[in-house]
Structures are given as C-alpha cells and as structure tokens.
Symmetry: C2
Subunit: 451 residues, 2 copies
C-alpha cells in the first residue's frame, strides 16, 4: 500500500513546526505591538466572492469544491456532453478555497462594516491554496501573514508598516532592504512619456539597467514601440542614481509637469520623513522598478529583499484605494503588508539563524530501571510538570540505551535516571544530555535547575 499527500502540499514534523511557530510568533508579536487585531475568515468562500478577483489565470488556480449531494442530477444532456470544464464548474461547484487573505478581508470589511470602527487594523495568519504547478519553494497550500489598515488614508500607516518590517527582520536577524515605490510616480512617468499603458514595459526596462546597460535598454524600449521622443524623456529616470534624496530631487525636476507624479513624490517624501527618525536597523530604498500588483495598488508599493541571499522578495505590500469597491463599498482606502513565511523559513535555514533553543520541547525525561523505579518517578514527574516544566517519563522500564535513544531523538536536554541507589537516596540522577555530566539531586533541586 502506498501512502502519500497531494503534490504541492506538506506534512510538518515537530522540528519544522517549532521553526514555523518561531516565525509566526515573531510576526504576531510585532503585529500586536503595533495595535493590529487578529481575525480569521473561513477557508471556504463562495466562488462568487473569489472569481474574477485574481485575473483569468487566477480563476484557473482556484481550488473549487464540489457541491454536496447529487450535484449531477440537474445537468442537461447538452451541458454534460459539451465537456466544457469551465462552463460546467459553476454548475457543480459553488465554493472554493481562499486564494489569498486580501479578498476575503475585503469581503469581511464590507459584510461587517456596521460592527467595525475605522480605521480598522487587522492581522490574519492563515493558509491559502493555489492550484499552481508545484516547484521548489512554491506550494499549493501555504501560509500568509497579513496586516492591513482600512478606512484611513494617513501616510503614517505606510511608515508604521515599514517600522514593523524593520522590527520583524531585526528579530529574525535577517538583514534586509525595504524597497519603496509609489504607483503615482509610475503613473507620472507614463504620463510624461505619453505611454500611460506601458508602465510595465518601462519598469522592466529600468530594472535591466544594471544588467544590460543604457544603450541596450534604450534599444529594447524602441523595439517595443515606445517613441524616440518618449525614450529621450526617460533618460534622466533611467540614469537615476544616488541616495533617496538625490533620486527624489532629480525626479521632482523630471516629473514637474505631472500632477499625479508630483503627488507620488510628496507621499513618498512624507513616508521617508516619518521613518527617518525611527532609527531603523535596515535601510529603506526608493526603487522605481517596483511595480508589484500594479492593478491593485494606488499609492505606496513596498517590498523586502534579504541581503546576501539569492532570492526574490520575501515580503511585500502597498496602498490600495478601492479594494472593498469590488463588493459594493467604495471609498475605503487601505494599506497592507504580507510577510512571506515560507520564504523567511528558507532564508533562516540558509543563514542558520533559527535559535538553538527551538529544537527542544520537553526539558526532562524520567528513565526508570524497573517497575518500582517507574512508580517512584510518577509523583516526581507530576511535581515537575506542576512547576510548569515540560516533562515526560519513558512509559516502560526498557533498556537504558533505548530510553536514551528516545531522549536524543526528541532533543530532550536532561534525563532523570532512577534505579535502586537513587530511590534509596530519595533522589534522581540528573544527566545533562549535551555534556554527559551526571549529578545525584533531589527533585526540588531538579526543578530549580530547570526553571
């Protein structure tokens, strides 16, 4: 018999769980400190809530759940024999697994708007599902850790998100660069060059400057059908260099004719002003190539890259002005950020940054030589547990070697060995499993020692 799990899904062992919980706990503690409140939404949403929110490709990647009961009964011959999976789906599946936390959150805000006080700051740490082709680092079930504020357009929240990012990665000891952009600046650039719908081509070109150089970038822009005039206007932007202040100074000159562009610069400056005095550990860098989720973000765009690790962005977010509009509640501005827990896991593993102390759950194992010793251990075990120390007893007086194998397999740091001499002394032999050192001790001393 073969047993297995669906491709792209994972089992998590106790050790992996300890590492994952370290990540979630760290992020959660930052979210809480900044006043975000946890909510949860159902794994299953109505497909009417999810479809059309992630583009055509996203619709395909939604996991759809077959209706309960006799789902085939009411289908017509024509519907069946057409074998059109796309058309058949809405007739046999009304629910789907959530694809991200953002759309369910927008649905939540609209559905519960009368119970909420705005600005509403929520965080959410839950799995999402995507029927993507599984590959290294990409899974069909994975956790997202999102914090969003809705109902305020204050740029203070952009700054707070950056501070939160800084605190979380400081806690992880992962050096990062926070990349910052603004959708309005990109819109201004597009306006400037008269190619409002070519923002993506332009940002892709800017992104290639490092690799292929100015001449090749210009050639590529022309080849893509952008006018020579527009390319000429783009030159100062392509050549943008230096500190954030230097970049902004140059951008102000170039974007002066665009009201939207100038608004973007003002917003960006205000956010940078806020964080300048926050004594961040990590640097914040204006990056015009940042265009993630372009259709979605309307102001700030944020992304985090780990320094010295060959990996894409490990977290990201931004400002959106009309997320709840898709559910009939316009005019609710929001800004949010998502920590990529799986990516952070990989970076922590790669840089060997997981704390040593994570590995052990149980602090003490009682190992008895015989049945009488086992009985002797039980009240001592209770005493230790009631002191709040995680402890257990090997359930039979098995060979000592076997009990030690068990202790090591479970990374238990201390073993209390009990045989005749320990019982005669009313004590236990406490063995340090790392140093091998042994000491005859009373159970009270063991509790003191482990606390």
């Amino acid at each position: 018999m073969t047993v297995g799990i669906p491709k792209g899904t994972r089992d998590f062992s106790p050790l992996e769980m300890a590492k994952r919980n370290y990540i979630f706990d760290t992020i959660r503690s930052v979210f809480r400190r900044y006043g975000f409140r946890q909510i949860e939404t159902p794994s299953l949403e109505n497909l009417s809530t999810l479809m059309g929110k992630y583009g055509e490709e996203g619709d395909k990647l939604l996991f759809k759940v077959l209706n309960s009961g006799d789902f085939a009964a009411r289908l017509s011959d024509d519907e069946l024999l057409a074998r059109n999976s796309v058309k058949l789906t809405p007739k046999i599946a009304e629910k789907g697994l959530r694809y991200d936390l953002t759309v369910p959150f927008a649905r939540y805000v609209v559905q519960h708007r009368d119970e909420l006080t705005f600005p509403f700051k929520r965080y959410q740490i839950q799995p999402v599902w995507r029927a993507d082709r599984p590959q290294k680092g990409r899974y069909r079930e994975f956790y997202q850790c999102d914090a969003d504020v809705v109902g305020s357009d204050s740029l203070l929240y952009e700054a707070e998100l950056i501070e939160m990012i800084d605190e979380a990665f400081k806690a992880f000891k992962i050096p990062v660069v926070v990349k910052l952009n603004n959708r309005k600046i990109l819109a201004g650039i597009a306006e400037l060059v008269g190619e409002a719908d070519r923002i993506v081509d332009i940002t892709v070109a800017i992104d290639k400057m490092d690799k292929i150089g100015l001449d090749n970038v210009n050639a590529e822009l022309l080849a893509k059908g952008i006018s020579a005039d527009a390319v000429a206007k783009l030159q100062p932007i392509l050549l943008l260099e230096g500190s954030n202040a230097e970049k902004l100074m140059r951008l102000k000159e170039v974007l002066a004719p665009s009201e939207t562009g100038m608004k973007g610069i003002t917003e960006l400056e205000e956010v940078l002003d806020y964080v300048r005095v926050a004594e961040l550990k990590n640097s914040v860098e204006l990056d015009l190539t940042l265009a993630r989720g372009l259709n979605y973000y309307t102001g700030a765009i944020l992304e985090v890259k780990a320094v010295g690790v060959d990996m894409g962005s490990i977290s990201g977010g931004g400002r959106y002005d009309n997320l709840t509009g898709i559910f009939g509640l316009p005019g609710v501005s929001g800004v949010g950020f998502s920590f990529g827990a799986d990516r952070i896991y990989d970076v922590l593993n790669q840089l060997e940054l997981f704390p040593e102390t994570l590995l052990s759950g149980v602090q003490l194992l009682f190992a008895a030589f015989d049945e009488r010793a086992l009985s002797y251990c039980l009240p001592l075990l209770r005493r230790v547990r009631r002191a709040g120390i995680a402890a257990e007893v090997y359930p039979t007086p098995a060979k000592m070697k076997k009990q030690m194998v068990y202790a090591n397999a479970n990374a238990v740091p201390f073993v209390a060995i009990v045989g005749d001499s320990e019982m005669d002394a009313g004590k236990v032999m406490l063995k340090n499993m790392i140093t091998g050192e042994q000491r005859l001790m009373t159970i009270d001393d063991v509790v003191e020692c482990l606390k």
Copy 2:
C-alpha cells in the same frame, strides 16, 4: 450586492479570536507540558486516504475538490449521462478536505515511520471540514485539538490523558466529570449475554435506566429481540450503582466467565490506580454507557461532560489498536484525545468564564489635538512599543470624541492625550478609560505604569 460566506462557516472577529486563542493556548500549553509535539498535515488529502474511513455516511460528508484543468474532457458519454454523482466523483475529484485529524495522523505515522521514534506523542490543532447539515453548535469548518501517543500500549498514557483533561479544565475553571469505559468490558458483556453484535442496543438500554426505569429497559431489550436469558444475565449490569470501586467489584463477579471482559476490568483498574494519586480536581467516573466510536476503539473510552451545563460531551477519546493498519502498518497501538474547542467556547461563554483581560489587545492609544501634537506623540509611541507594550496612535488629529470612541470600540484601557499644555510640560495626560481618572505623566512613568 450581497456578500456572505458559505453556510456552516464563520468569520471570527478580534474579540472572538482573543477568546479562541485563549482556548487554544491553554490546551497547547497542557499538551506541551506533557511532552506532546506539534505536527501539521495538509488540509487537502488524497481521497483514497479519506474514503471508507468514516463509514458510508462519512464518505458523503467529505468535501471533495474538483481536479484542476480540463476535468470533464476524458469522461465518456455513458459516464456523463448516467448523472450518477457518486460514480462521477472519483473521476473528477482526487482530493478532499480532511474530515478529522486522526486519519491524517495515521497516514502521517505510516508515511514517516522511518523518521519517527516510538512512542510518538503528537498534538495537532487544525481545522477540519464536514458537509454536515449546519445547526446550532455544528459547523462545516471547525477546529480539532488532538493529542495522541502511538507505538506503546502502556496504560500510563491513558492516565496521562486524564491528567491532561483535568489540568486543561482546571485552567478553564470549568467543572467536569471524566467518564471512563473500556471497550473490552462492553465486549465481555456482549459475550456474556451471547449477543456479541448487539453491544450498541445494550449500551443504549443501559443509558436509558435513569429516564425510563428497569422494567421499561427490559421490555425494550426483549422487543429488540434479545433473549430472555440474556436479559436476565444483564440485570446486575443494569443495576450497577455506587462508586467506581463498587461498580468494578460487581462487574468482576458478573464478567468472571469472560476473559476479554476481565482484561477490560484490569485495564480500567490500572488506569484508575494511576490517577487516584494524581490529586485531580475533577472526578473520574466509570460509565458503561460510553460507547463512542465503537468500531474504532479497542480499550479505554473517554469522554468529558461539563457539570451544570446542558450539553453533550465536550471532549473525548480512547485507545485504538489498529489505526495505522488501514494504511498497511499493523501492530501500532495508540491512545488519543480530542478537545472540542467550539463546545468549550460555548461553555465558557455560557458560564462567563472568559478572563476579562482577554478583551484588550492594545494597552495605550495616543490621542493628539493637532498636527504638532501628533508629531510630538510619534517618538513617544516608539518608546512605548520598544518597551514591549502594544500601543498605537490615532492617525489624524480628529475630534477628541471620535478618538475616544475609537479607544472604547477597541477596548483600549489607557489613552495618552496630548495638547499644548502637555507638550509644554513635556508630558502626556494619561486617561484611565475604565475609571475616567486622568494624570499628567512623563512617558517613562507611563511605561512603568503599563508594564
């Protein structure tokens, strides 16, 4: 536009999440203290893993996930036009949402057996899904909190489960009775009366003693086709009363002819011996009517009832000897227990036992009178957060009343009000939102006060 969620599913607000986390954290802390290690398994399992494990009814209640891509393409005309949903399902759905945590755990143990050291003690707190008809207290998505030990038949673990139950409900301050039975005793009774396959009828009859009395129970047993001879032999069991010791003494006489029955009694006595010295807060009661999951359990059967609350069992579990056998790994005995988080939630609500302190996440809100005051607040806010205190600032200098409404809506206990006079003094006005009391304080004093 109407927004909503699938029936039987729930959104959880910040307050509900705080209450739920209190339950999960309490249970998790007990699990950990007793040496259980956390694992997680995927929400989606192959339907081949799940089907046939929960009976015919269970198969129907599984949520099945439609295959990605063109699922209808390879279906024949006959398959389609038969409109047989049951036969069609395996051809268009290979995956399903897990129905409980036990079968996925059995699959996990078999799949990872070479990496595990036995006995393997795991806990798992994850949602499960059932396409049940939703009703009060019954949901289509709900959490289970399971602890199981596999790879040992030591009865010490039964005793530890009872101690864990006691500790958890002691922490919740919910008075409970732990009901205990043993499948082998039930088998012995059936053997005794010569009706091995009538255990369920017999336990149902025993269960009715309180309500309808001996005569009616006997009449019902006869009506169900149980022989007069068998009913006569059942009389001492129906009339079983008194303490656990008294019940066991009587059972020993009655079950003397049944080896299996006597084995059950010995096991039960051993478990009771273990817990007798554990100074439990709650009582453990032998209950012969306990027959939950009969096909599944082979030894101890456990159930928890809240005292003074009109509700079924709020948690349960037992010993199973062949759970991994269904996946080709026989001979792995296990014993486990599941806390019913939703039921516990309802009891805590009903008895008003949730701790008051849960309600608040943020300890301090800064409320500024104008832009200058807002700027004054920002470094103070950072100072407070860096001291580990959850705090936030109202993002605009809105009317003070609006800021107070926000504080109250979010159950923030303290507000630091800042206007000209506070800034002149280099202080803040700390308002206690419960007593209404106000005091002019330095930020260092505020930190001291809130820590």
